[in-house]
């Protein structure tokens, strides 16, 4: 490089392999995919998306130091940065260099144009640099009104609007005269950067946020944390199971626009006995885990994965869901909000790109503060220090709050402090110890005279499934209270269990004797149940009781079904059998269906989706590259460099559009000669040597060495650029 100062790409080229490896692991997007050579690397490193990513890795202190760097003119030294901030900044400057937000120039540093652009013209609220010399002593002599103007502008924004800056006898006039303000246009003035820094007491920031704010909150006893966390873990697993079973019975339909309707959400919340935001969270959790499926026809059904999941040990069940929760970009907390429209659970509007990042930061924060139940405010403060950046509309603070709330629901925390299970999970330990800590499933129930049965603990799946077909759940928690009623028994018979089966099951499972009234209840319902049988073949009804056939035939309420009697004991109808069945039940009969062979057809016990589960994809950050990837990336780059160097002089340069723009920008107006390949109107490419002057409207204005005239070049026709 022949210039007075080194280029960014040049400095990158000189970095050691170790330094590059460090850079890549801090900014993995630089090698995804691996760029062809160092020029391409430098272009990518100064592209806006990559820079935004890099800025997001900075905490508030690092960002402040970056702002101080931006306030200084190139080149600047570490010492100058320290002078304007704090001695601790020296380390940060090194870090900024490491991640290539600044680059080295001899003993000092420079900041690439693109980084300055992203930080804006007014870093830390400081105005533009003054072109004229400033006498700081004059400030003390400033009249009071002028002083007041300065005071207003000290901490930014550094610009101020006045009627007309040329008006005589105003403090503005005095300040302009003394170079303490810079005119921007006829009605705007700005405080020069030097004056701003001087007035700020030779600092850039009012307050330096060198360390992360401490988490505040009560210290919780370990025993309490563990208790609360275990209760939460078993609750969450139960909620998921309950919700899936509920939706198998009462299947909701997704809205036209996708997602779970508000009414269905409310219904499910009533069923679970929790707040709606909690239900939305549970539904999202099941969705993530592929335990439910939104069918093509809109029905939201549990998937076969749910059956597999149910058969796993609680720890595995929990871990599976929590892993996904940690990684997902979906934010259940948004459900119920109104942005452009109502955001609903299971809809497509829940993705937020930094959700997983914030979640990980919160978990790390909890891990670093064992036993403390942080207040939401203090956690938000700490996370906002760690991640001060805003991408679009920021919901960082809310994300922190929701993460804490969800962590409590999941049992990662107990009483809001990190539990031992949560800690083991974050550290990715093999065994979390949940299985041994949760109560063992019980395989018996206690049937009581008031037609209730109590399972004094979590029931084994087989028993719970069977029991719930013919008993209604009355109360949930550590134990489950079931109630038997006429309708619940009827449901059991509908599911294909016989009265005898139900009785045998109860006497086998119950530790207590079956009360006689319950036996009567079962027998009574069974006696009435299934007296009528309905089939598919154009819907027929047959019944041994001719009187009943006659009754149905003459039933005014059933007239619209148009029954015809085809035999003394058989009726047929053209109506669909389902509808017929419903109508008959409504009219007070107890029919049951039968198939062509004459045996009773059972309703399927639990509905399952037939499609393959398609859990929502995870929009994540680019993962940290492995050792191997780093080496491979370096090798590619170095090879690319060597190949580039071998290019013979006289060959028409070829660069990518990005590189072209980058190089042109870099040398614009610096009086440096460049070689470019330029395609004429016919497509023939020729080599030109030019001095670039300016760029506007897709056109490069440059002095062509061949003609020695200033000529416009269409940028789109430039095939490549290289230094002459």
């Amino acid at each position: 490089m022949s210039d007075a100062f080194p280029s960014f790409a040049g400095e990158l080229r000189e970095r050691s392999d170790e330094d590059l490896a460090l850079l890549f692991s801090a900014r993995p997007d630089l090698i995804t995919p691996v760029p062809a050579d160092m020029t391409a690397l430098s272009t990518r490193a100064t592209s806006a998306p990559s820079l935004l990513r890099a800025l997001e890795t900075l905490n508030q202190w690092q960002f402040q130091v970056l702002e101080v760097c931006a306030a200084l003119a190139d080149p600047f030294t570490s010492k100058e940065v320290v002078a304007l901030s704090d001695p601790a900044a020296e380390l940060v400057v090194k870090h900024l260099h490491k991640i290539a937000l600044i680059y080295r120039d001899g003993s000092g540093y420079r900041m690439p144009r693109a980084v300055r652009d992203i930080l804006g013209n007014e870093p830390a609220g400081l105005g533009p640099q003054s072109a004229s010399p400033i006498d700081f002593k004059v400030i003390k002599k400033a009249p009071e009104a002028a002083q007041a103007v300065l005071n207003k502008l000290i901490w930014g924004p550094p610009r101020g609007q006045v009627g007309d800056i040329r008006k005589k006898g105003t403090p503005i006039e005095w300040l302009l005269e003394n170079n303490l303000l810079i005119p921007i246009d006829t009605s705007t003035v700005a405080l020069p950067r030097e004056v701003g820094i001087f007035l700020r007491g030779n600092k850039v920031h009012q307050e330096l946020m060198i360390t992360q704010p401490q988490l505040e909150g009560p210290q919780i006893r370990n025993a309490d944390i563990e208790r609360a966390s275990l209760a939460a873990i078993s609750n969450t697993l139960r909620w998921v199971e309950e919700l899936m079973n509920f939706w198998s019975e009462e299947t909701p339909n997704a809205l036209q626009s996708g997602g779970l309707g508000v009414r269905d959400l409310k219904k499910a919340s009533d069923h679970l006995g929790v707040e709606e935001n909690c239900t939305a969270f549970v539904a999202e959790l099941a969705y993530l885990g592929g335990l439910l499926c939104v069918e093509a026809d809109g029905r939201i059904l549990p998937s076969t994965n749910f059956d597999l999941w149910q058969n796993k040990e609680p720890e595995e069940q929990w871990r599976e869901l929590v892993e996904l929760w940690k990684l997902t970009s979906r934010v259940a907390g948004l459900v119920g909000r109104t942005e452009s429209r109502n955001i609903t659970a299971l809809s497509t509007e829940l993705d937020r790109s930094n959700a997983a990042l914030i979640r990980a930061l919160v978990l790390d924060l909890l891990l670093a503060n064992p036993g403390i139940a942080p207040t939401v405010k203090s956690a938000q403060k700490a996370i906002l220090w760690r991640y001060p950046h805003r991408r679009g509309i920021s919901i960082t603070a809310e994300l922190v709050e929701w993460t804490l709330r969800e962590a409590e629901w999941l049992g990662i925390t107990g009483g809001n402090a990190l539990s031992v299970y949560g800690a083991k999970f974050i550290k990715d330990e093999d065994s979390l110890g949940i299985n041994s800590a949760l109560p063992k499933p019980v395989d018996h129930i206690l049937v009581q005279a008031d037609n209730t049965a109590i399972a004094p603990g979590p029931l084994t799946i087989e028993i719970a499934r069977m029991l719930s077909t013919f008993a209604d759940i009355e109360s949930r928690g550590g134990a489950t209270v079931y109630r038997f009623s006429e309708s619940s028994i009827r449901r059991g018979l509908d599911h294909g269990h016989s009265a005898e089966e139900i009785k045998t099951f109860l006497s086998k499972t119950s530790k207590t004797q079956i009360p006689q009234p319950l036996e009567y209840l079962i027998a009574d319902v069974a006696k009435k149940h299934g007296k009528l049988r309905i089939g598919y073949a154009n819907t027929y009804i047959r019944c041994d009781d001719q009187a009943m056939i006659t009754a149905i035939l003459n039933d005014k309420k059933l007239e619209h079904l148009n029954f015809r009697q085809i035999a003394p004991q058989v009726l047929i109808s053209d109506t669909e059998s389902d509808e017929t069945m419903d109508e008959l039940r409504r009219a007070g009969y107890f029919p049951s269906g039968e198939n062509s062979k004459g045996s009773v057809v059972n309703l399927p016990i639990q509905k399952r989706s037939k499609s393959r589960p398609k859990p929502p994809r995870i929009i994540g950050e680019i993962t940290k590259p492995s050792e191997q990837m780093l080496t491979a990336a370096l090798r590619t780059l170095r090879t690319g460099e060597r190949a580039a160097k071998k290019k013979p002089v006289g060959e028409i340069p070829r660069t990518t559009a990005n590189e072209t723009m980058d190089l042109l920008n870099e040398y614009l107006g610096k009086g440096v000669s460049l070689r470019i390949g330029y395609a004429d109107a016919n497509g023939g490419v020729s080599l030109r040597i030019i001095d670039p002057l300016s760029i506007s409207l897709g056109t490069l204005v440059a002095k062509d060495h061949a003609t020695n005239a200033v000529t416009p070049f269409k940028i789109a026709r430039i095939t490549g650029v290289t230094t002459a």
Binding site: E226, G477, A479
Partner: protein, 547 residues
């Protein structure tokens, strides 16, 4: 994980495993703050309610104690949110206090200005309050004390009442424990009430609630107004008080349809209190006629609406409610609690039975299959006539007659709802009948004869549902009732629960027509007793009818 007897459910019910060795200890510990909901054979259900938690605060328990108790006895981990909720609920109690001020009279005070401002803005509360004294104090119209407390309770900011009770006019009353002793639970009930100031005591029928009343009077040592359901009950109260206390005949007055005596201890009937003359409750003045130190409401579950309203006005007098079955099909239990006072004592029926103070009972549901003709009549009956149609069938009557004959040697009560039906039964059996139009004197004579055994079988209408003390009755046959009333069923069983001299058990028959609405009602009626651990046995009428 501890292996405690208690399971805390997420809907705030507590399940107590009574077969667990620690169950008794646990029951004692949770009784102050959790309400016993039902007590069947194995698992008793308690419920945590705001009211219960506030009552616990009122009697000096704090949230920490409650939470510690739950954690100590709980079998499984208790959800954190539930504990927070308990702490939060209990924290609301006592932010507002009712006090007597030497200058301003009754005042409402709060150290939390925001709370005071909130309740003062509430529409239901504002008219009950007087002038604002300062930022933390507002005066209250003394007559609105009860209404205010009720309204604040509904807002979720219960006021702690430090305004105290008036002592009333002093009157010497002592228990006359001669040859008998107050039972342990009666003593606990009376003390529980006295320390709480006002409230309801729930004890099973036949467990001696009158004596709890007498013991409360002995605590109060003041003039007492006793409100009872009917005249016969009034006389039983008088007899019992004469026998068990130092009171003599001149000190006890009866205020009923026939007599209007006002004495230091006055027993009045609900009926006379709610009698209206020209649209005005003529006898409600009785509440003010004396400086009563104690008002006892017998069978408080039957408290009629006018008395409810009036009771709200006399919040400075001590009030004791007595009942066996605080279930009202009209859902007014909450009103009873807020006006008379919270539940101060409750004990499962089966526990008293185990102690031998009430007779064990065998409940039998006799299922009757109606004849085809009866079924047809039933099927075509109008909706509102359906119950009557199936409850009064001839088939049912035959079963009742057969049962009565089977128990010819036992003291038997036959209870029914429909007068024509019970008239017929009485005539067929040739036994006397007591119904609404039977004069008091005749009723008393018949009951006396029944007690001595001169009359073995008695047919009664619903007038005998409550408060009729017939110690030797051991068989009850219920032929029809007030639809699905749970408390009626329990009260009727209560008639035969007095322990028998020879230790016999009691038997309660409920005759039910199969496959009719009668059977549905029976199921609802039996719920209260089933929840108290009484298991019904079902038999078929064929087992009863002579072949």
């Amino acid at each position: 994980m501890s292996d405690g007897p208690l399971i805390v459910q997420s809907d705030k019910t507590l399940l107590l495993d009574i077969d667990h060795p620690l169950s008794t200890e646990c029951r004692r510990a949770i009784a102050p703050f959790a309400e016993l909901e039902k007590s069947p054979e194995h698992i008793h259900t308690y419920r945590l309610t705001s009211l219960g938690l506030w009552n616990a605060r009122a009697s000096g328990h704090d949230a920490e104690q409650v939470i510690d108790t739950l954690l100590k006895f709980s079998r499984y981990a208790v959800p954190h949110a539930l504990l927070l909720d308990i702490a939060e609920t209990m924290g609301r109690y006592g932010r507002l206090r009712l006090e007597s001020h030497p200058v301003h009279g009754l005042i409402l005070i709060s150290t939390d200005q925001a709370v005071l401002a909130e309740v003062m803005r509430a529409k239901k509360v504002a008219p009950l309050l007087g002038a604002k004294v300062d930022d933390e104090t507002v005066t209250v119209h003394p007559s609105q004390r009860g209404h205010l407390k009720q309204a604040l309770l509904r807002l979720g900011w219960p006021a702690e009442d430090f305004a105290g009770y008036v002592d009333g006019q002093a009157h010497d009353i002592a228990l006359n424990e001669d040859g008998w002793k107050l039972r342990e639970y009666q003593k606990l009930a009376a003390e529980g009430f006295w320390h709480g100031g006002s409230g309801v005591v729930v004890l099973p029928c036949g467990a001696g609630k009158t004596l709890v009343g007498a013991a409360a009077m002995a605590h109060a040592q003041a003039t007492t107004l006793i409100l009872v359901t009917n005249t016969v009950a009034a006389r039983q109260w008088r007899d019992e008080l004469l026998k068990r206390t130092s009171l003599n005949e001149d000190e006890i007055g009866e205020y009923s349809g026939s007599k209007k005596e006002i004495r230091p201890v006055t027993i009045a009937t609900y009926q006379v209190m709610t009698t209206r003359k020209k649209g005005v409750y003529a006898h409600l003045d009785l509440f003010d006629s004396h400086d009563w130190g104690l008002i006892i409401y017998d069978e408080v579950h039957l408290l009629p609406a006018p008395i409810f309203r009036f009771t709200a006005d006399i919040q400075s007098r001590r009030r004791l409610g007595l009942t066996a079955t605080l279930v009202r099909e009209d859902g007014m239990e909450g009103e009873v609690f807020s006006l008379i006072g919270p539940k101060r004592f409750d004990v499962p029926w089966k526990e008293i039975e185990a102690q031998g103070y009430i007779a064990p009972a065998d409940c039998v549901e006799v299922r009757v299959t109606l004849t085809d003709h009866e079924r047809l009549t039933y099927a075509t009956a109008e909706q509102e006539e359906k119950y009557r149609s199936c409850a009064t069938t001839a088939t049912k009557k035959n079963v009742v007659l057969a049962l009565a004959k089977q128990h010819a040697d036992d003291q038997t009560l036959i209870i029914g709802q429909y007068i024509s039906q019970i008239d017929e039964i009485a005539a067929d059996l040739g036994v006397p009948i007591v119904k609404g139009d039977t004069p008091i004197k005749e009723r008393e004579e018949l009951f006396a004869k029944f007690r001595t055994g001169e009359v073995k079988c008695l047919v009664v209408s619903k007038v005998a549902n409550f408060s009729i003390d017939l110690p030797e009755a051991s068989i009850a046959i219920q032929v029809s009732g007030t639809f699905g009333s749970r408390q009626e069923e329990a009260q009727r069983l209560g008639r035969i629960l007095r322990p028998k001299a020879d230790g016999r058990g009691a038997r309660f028959y409920s005759v039910v027509a199969r496959d009719t609405i009668d059977q549905d009602f029976a199921q609802n009626r039996q719920r209260f007793l089933a929840e108290q651990g009484y298991s019904y046995r079902i038999i078929d009428a064929d087992e009863v009818l002579p072949r």
